[in-house]
Symmetry: C2
Subunit: 145 residues, 2 copies
């Protein structure tokens, strides 16, 4: 298992937790110098708040842990491609590296021009894509049945 | 004074409060059925959190007040054009109407394609533009001196 896969598994654990709580299953972890400093999952239903995406909560947690506003030395792993809001937040945080699982062709940030992430953010996509997609598909399938 | 100007003055009061606290002076209010249900200003320094923009705080406050996730019957007044993050959040909230003061050619959402706001959000820009711009200019001028 690669390092990226290892941490994406941790983000998937968060996504599973979200599913158990009836939330759209997206999870995120923030890693800084080999240590997980934040882990979060979507809580929009529980908090009744559209801004409570996994990434937003993870950013707030990570910056709180670090005592600074910037995540330029951090990697954020997220099971689904961030939306416009989350990518905008990651840009303000000057994220060092973004690693994503499943793509989001409808809401994902990569549709947008000009590019919305910080120009210095390194990007890796397609880590454990199958698992990251499947958990969301299963969630909606179960909801419809 | 028009209704838009009246509420933009309220948003400007929030921006002034931000300036007094050493924050980039941007303020927002959310109006629903003629009543202000949320008022907020930028708190990124105080909270040490890049996501704590006036609009984000106002969305969370307004949805908390309403007990629902959506702001489709609300108008958000903000002294500066929302950034990518805030526009993404306003889209998730299905905001009814957005009224802005000063434009933000560098960070504003209107640069982006495809459009990031919800397709049903009505948009009015240029309300009290001079005052909304001036307070930000004065803030940075004072910081440099």
């Amino acid at each position: 298992m690669t390092t990226h896969e290892y941490y994406m598994h941790k983000a998937l654990q968060e996504a599973r937790q979200a599913a158990e709580e009836g939330e759209i299953p997206v999870g995120a972890v923030v890693v800084c110098k080999g240590k997980i400093i934040a882990r979060a999952h979507n809580e929009t239903e529980k908090l009744n708040d559209v801004t409570a995406h996994a990434e937003m909560l993870a950013i707030t947690m990570a910056t709180s842990y670090l005592g600074g506003k910037y995540l330029n030395e951090c990697t954020l792993y997220v099971t689904m491609e961030p939306c416009t809001m989350c990518a905008g937040a990651l840009s303000w945080a000057q994220l060092g590296e973004l690693v994503t699982g499943a793509p989001d062709p409808h809401r994902g940030y990569s549709r947008l021009t000009p590019p919305v992430l910080h120009p210095k953010t390194r990007i890796t996509s397609g880590i454990l894509t199958g698992e990251c997609s499947e958990i969301v598909k299963q969630f909606f399938k179960a909801k419809r049945s």
